[in-house]
Amino acid sequence: MRQLLSLIVTSAIILSASTSKAQWKLIEKVTTQPGKASIAYEKWELESNGLILYIHEDHSDPIVHVDVTYHVGSNRESLGKSGFAHFFEHMMFQGSYNVGDEMHFKYISEAGGTLNGTTNRDRTNYFETLPSNQLELGLWLEADRMGFLLDSVTTPKFEVQRSTVKNEKGQNVENQPYGLSEEVKDQNLYPQGHPYSWPTIGYVDDLDRVSVDDLKNFFMRWYGPNNASLTVVGDVDPEEVKSLAYKYYGNIPRGPEVRKLRVERVTLPIDRYINIKDQVFFPLTSMVFPSTPSLSKDEYAVDFLATLLGDGNNSLLYKEFVKKDSAIQVVAYNYASELSGEFTIQVYAYPNVNSKTVEEKIRKVLDDFDKMEITDEQLQALKAKTLKGVTSFTETVSNKATLIATGHYLQDKPFDFQVEIDKINAVTKQDIKMAFAKYIKGKNAIIMNVLPYGPDEKAPANRSNNPNKNVKSNDEAVYANLSYKRPVDNFDRSKKPQAKAPKLVTVPDYYEASLPNGVGIIGTFTNETPIVTFVLSIKGGHMLETESNVGLSALTAAMMNEGTKKYTAEQLEFELDKLGSSITFFGGSDATLVNVSCMNDKVNETMAILEEMLYNPRFDEEEFKKVKKQTLQAIKSEKTNASGTADKVLNNLVYGNSIMGLPVNGTEKSVGSLSLKDVRDFYEKYYSPSVSSLVIVGDIKKEASLTSIDFLKKWSAKSVVIPNITSAPAHPTPTIYLVDKMNASQSEIRLGKIGRKYDATGDHFKSNVMNFSLGGAFNSRLNINIRETNGWSYGVRSGFSASEFPGKFSAGGGVRRSATDSALREFLKEIKDFRDKGISDDELTFTKASILSSDARNYEAGFQKASYLSTIQRYKLPGDYKDQQKRIITNMTKEEINAIAKRDLDPANMVVVVVGDKFFIKKSLEKMGYGKVVEVDSDKPLKLPSTLELK
């Protein structure tokens, strides 16, 4: 009997070694047809454990995206146990049996990849984009945390991540204006016990109560391979993918069966009102109606309805609120999840507008929509805009993988793009009206008002209120009889896979040209998607301003969007929408940028509109008043954003009285004094081809692209002199500049000092190489210390920025309020240590490997290609500058890095800014002994003499 048994076992092994195909069952194979937009894929099922594998080949770049999506989100949690799925997202990066603590990030970075994980109500995904020769690394890592995670879930790691998650909630939710409104809305929209009624990030007291065992049970119940899809998209060979996937996933046992979640349709017996207070400037009124879930037959009609109501200048809500000066912004959208949808209308009113009035006006708008006839042109515009958006989404391997994986958990098969396009094209005006009647007209809604605190009103300590804190979950049966058995392999899984030889990374071919009037042109052809992008850069921008008119460049750019002589603002937007095109002027820190995007068959019509906008801006007085008011209100509201405030104050301290020390969108005083004539003068004086350059990327050949911009030849050149920055304030005495933000649950810390101008291969470039291990990556010293080891922050970084003008070194991030002084101490310590003791051998290896290998990812999307070309054009770089950079990195030594650190991390002239609730943090900052703590008002830029001469 024994003999017979062993014979059977041996032959089974031989059988499995000879062909992995026998383990994979082909479910379906979809190919692309010419003229169709379907994403081709193969779908396989691993018979031993139910894992689904999708493979889509894309050989346009030497990269691969590996995605594992588990069909578990916060919707599988229980009452009183919220936040588990998101908590697990954090634990999944803490190592597994064969992957050391924090090593997941390090391996991916070192391999030149990027990675992340996200959790929503319905699913959790983990993914990385890597150079394609690192496919096996991605598969190995994901398999290890699918099958071997629990071995490394320890109490210390658990505690640190619990703290990090709480920080994340503090930083991204509680400390953000309107941050808690989602949580409150969900509590009221969904009945208690509904899987969408608690926040995905969880309640803090639930997070405090959870034990390591609770978490382990959650993982064992929901994270089996039979509840997951593995999606591999990119420069791959399907047979190799299957073989490797079988190797790494084949021995992971099937998990418990997961049955579809079923919930009742959400009904609201009556309108429900909620009023909450928050650190906001603009009161927000939201009206939320239960609507249709993802991929329902009504979804596109509902989306179109939302656009007509609240997207753009021609929408009804815009006309009622923004145009009539009672709100700064309006939004309407359908937030569709797996189990239900939420049709949402939001109005960000000006402070003097009563919320009751807002609600009445929203209802009036809905009545108006009920009576209105949708025109054919409107329908055409809706479809064109949607199709363009949907098409541009397929540009990257990561987006395609997301579409495939999302389609899988929603409907057991990937999105078929062609089916989606057909659905979009099939929507009729009647469909939109029917959607309105079904979900909105006469239906009850949640009406939520988020109102600002009074000037001296203190926020309660705990603003997030858990309605389930005393509820017993009764989920014992769900988690009964679970046990973990480590999978058994017939190979050594502990060995990190060796990468194959890297594929050659080819930078985009490009062409250059120039026009007689000075416009420089650079472009590249790519037909990965039928989209064309133009970026026109008119140098100067904010740099052309003075203290008295700061904000003028941004205001002028904003006015360029508000119509032409031929078109009002609304007509202009409508003409673009009909084409599915977009043109946006934007006033930046050193240039005005004009971003143009369109389908390849709409280039000429789009360029005609650009010509009209560039040469014949409308500069309407009424529009100017509206835009100016919006700008002023936005400036006033900036105080509610701690991160923005910290950046603003840092700039002021680093650049002092120069224009770079003042905010790009201006101050209340400066913008308040601007007139339409100032805008017109700025346009006449500074919008010149002599300081302009154009980048063209997309599905258009050189000849056609140059023809399309022929109109630029008639642009008259003017002489434009852009001032330089030659000095900055000195900061001889260590000082902490404190900006009080009452009720802030997190503090924003910034350290910075004046830097140098951009160079591609000189000191600036090398300084960022040096910085990589200090604060330029997840596994850098700053982040590992402050986030991972101490659990004080959701993430901190450092880096050197630069342009034609002097840049700066900056380091910082948001930290837990109670750890403000400790975190600042660690910032200073790490910077000092790095400067004094230098980089380690491991860090140098990590830095080189990470930066060199990441180049494969740098040319995938249109905007990345545009960025590459723009850099060449802007700084007049040779085409092989990337190769030069690679050589420099390869040859950099420890000594060179350390010398750069000593020079560039010199604490002389370093400034420290902290934005937080001074009641809680000032004393501890004073006790640090770093220097004086000086309170500053972010609305009143400091006047600092610029005594430091810059080279």
């Binding site: 017996p269 009751k356 009889n481």
Partner: protein, 395 residues
């Protein structure tokens, strides 16, 4: 002169008396402004008791503000003013009704919101504590206040006639005031109040009154509007279960399972119904389905085991009644079939034992099966196990 003086003195006294009453109201108003509600109460109570100001709009307004202020003042012990809300509500309504176009109306309407919300919360709290009379009193008060809430501010604080009617309905049911309950719920149904629980409540009222037909009508009405609502489905099934209409029930459960195939209770009841209707194979499938959803459902294990055992026993009985000729043809095969069923029954009972190791009825059945399978030693072990449990106090 004396007479004049006397007349002057008299008029002064009456003037001062006249003046004293508005003075109480004024003083109360002043203390309300300073948020000293206890002091305000002293003066406003005097004004309330005096006939000259007892029905004065301003008095009513300040009485309302004083008492709602007392209720909301965290430094005050609410237990000292148990009727504060009621007094506030009545006062504010009176202020508006006494002078509907008076100068205090707007302010009274404004204060109505605070009082109304407080009254609603008080009513809900009282209901939760089982004091239905008090709850009802406050609901009725709110209904009077809502009439005067011309701006809809109470509605914006989630105090509306619909919501209050719903609460009145529930409280009336608990007080067994069915006419009032029916009246409230009917109002809601006529308003298309979007809550399936209204139909359940109406159904239960009619069940109490012994009218099953009417009860089912309301369920059907609710199901017509909320076809996927589980509570309605469960309610319907309960009614049919109590009335013993098994054939109708099977169809109801099948419909319910279409909506909610993973509902373990529905699946289990389905199995029981099939069993009662002698549809054994269907019953086995339903028990198996129940266990797929929840493997810890012990009644499903024992139900399944019993069915298997009975099948095995039935075959065994047939074998015993066979003649030799027939036995030669099919006897062995049937014996094997019988043993298979017994073994399945054994597995199912063992699964039940894993869940409840000390359940004597389960152990007894296991012993019976071992005996039937001629596994005497195993049967003895079970016997001993049962004795040990009994000896240790188990039943």
């Amino acid at each position: 002169m004396k007479k004049v003086f006397f007349l002057i003195a008299l008029s002064f006294v009456s003037f001062s008396q006249t003046f004293a009453q508005p003075f109480n109201v004024e003083s109360a108003a002043g203390f309300v402004k300073k948020k000293n509600f206890k002091k305000a109460k002293e003066f406003i109570d005097k004004a309330f008791e005096n006939p000259q100001t007892a029905n004065d709009a301003r008095m009513w307004l300040n009485r309302g503000k004083t008492y709602i202020g007392l209720w909301n003042d965290t430094s005050v012990n609410r237990a000292d003013y148990p009727n504060a809300i009621e007094i506030a509500c009545v006062s504010l309504v009176n202020c508006i009704e006494v002078e509907p176009k008076g100068r205090f109306v707007e302010e009274a309407r404004f204060e109505l919101v605070n009082a109304g919300v407080a009254a609603f919360n008080f009513g809900v709290d009282a209901y939760a504590k089982g004091d239905y009379t008090k709850a009802m009193k406050h609901y009725d008060l709110i209904m009077k206040m809502i009439i005067h809430d011309t701006q809809g501010n109470l509605k914006r604080n989630n105090v509306s006639t619909s919501i209050v009617n719903q609460y009145i309905g529930y409280a009336s049911v608990d007080m067994k005031d069915y006419p009032k309950a029916i009246a409230s719920f009917e109002k809601l149904i006529n308003e298309n109040y979007n809550d399936p629980n209204i139909y359940i409540s109406m159904s239960r009222i009619y069940l109490e009154k012994g009218d099953t037909t009417k009860a089912l009508e309301f369920i059907a009405q609710g199901r017509g509007l909320y076809e996927d609502n589980r509570a309605l489905v469960t309610e319907e099934i309960k009614i049919y279960l109590n009335s013993g209409k098994t054939d109708v029930l099977i169809k109801k459960f099948q419909d319910a399972l279409k909506l909610d195939p993973d509902n373990v209770t529905f699946n289990y009841f389905m199995a029981v119904l099939f069993e009662q209707s002698n549809k054994v194979d269907e019953a086995i499938a339903a028990y198996q389905n129940t266990l797929k959803i929840d493997n810890s459902y012990i009644d499903a294990h024992t139900g399944l085991a019993t069915l298997y055992f009975n099948k095995g026993a039935e075959i065994d009985k047939k074998i015993k009644n066979m003649d030799l000729k027939e036995y030669a043809k099919v006897g062995e095969k049937m014996e094997k079939e019988s043993v298979d069923y017994l073994n399945k029954a054994l597995e199912a009972f063992k699964a039940a034992r894993d869940i409840k190791p000390k359940d004597l009825s389960v152990l007894k059945n296991i012993k019976i099966i071992y005996v039937a399978l001629r596994q005497g030693e195993e049967a003895k072990k079970i016997d001993q196990e049962m004795k040990d449990i009994i000896a240790s106090g188990g039943k």
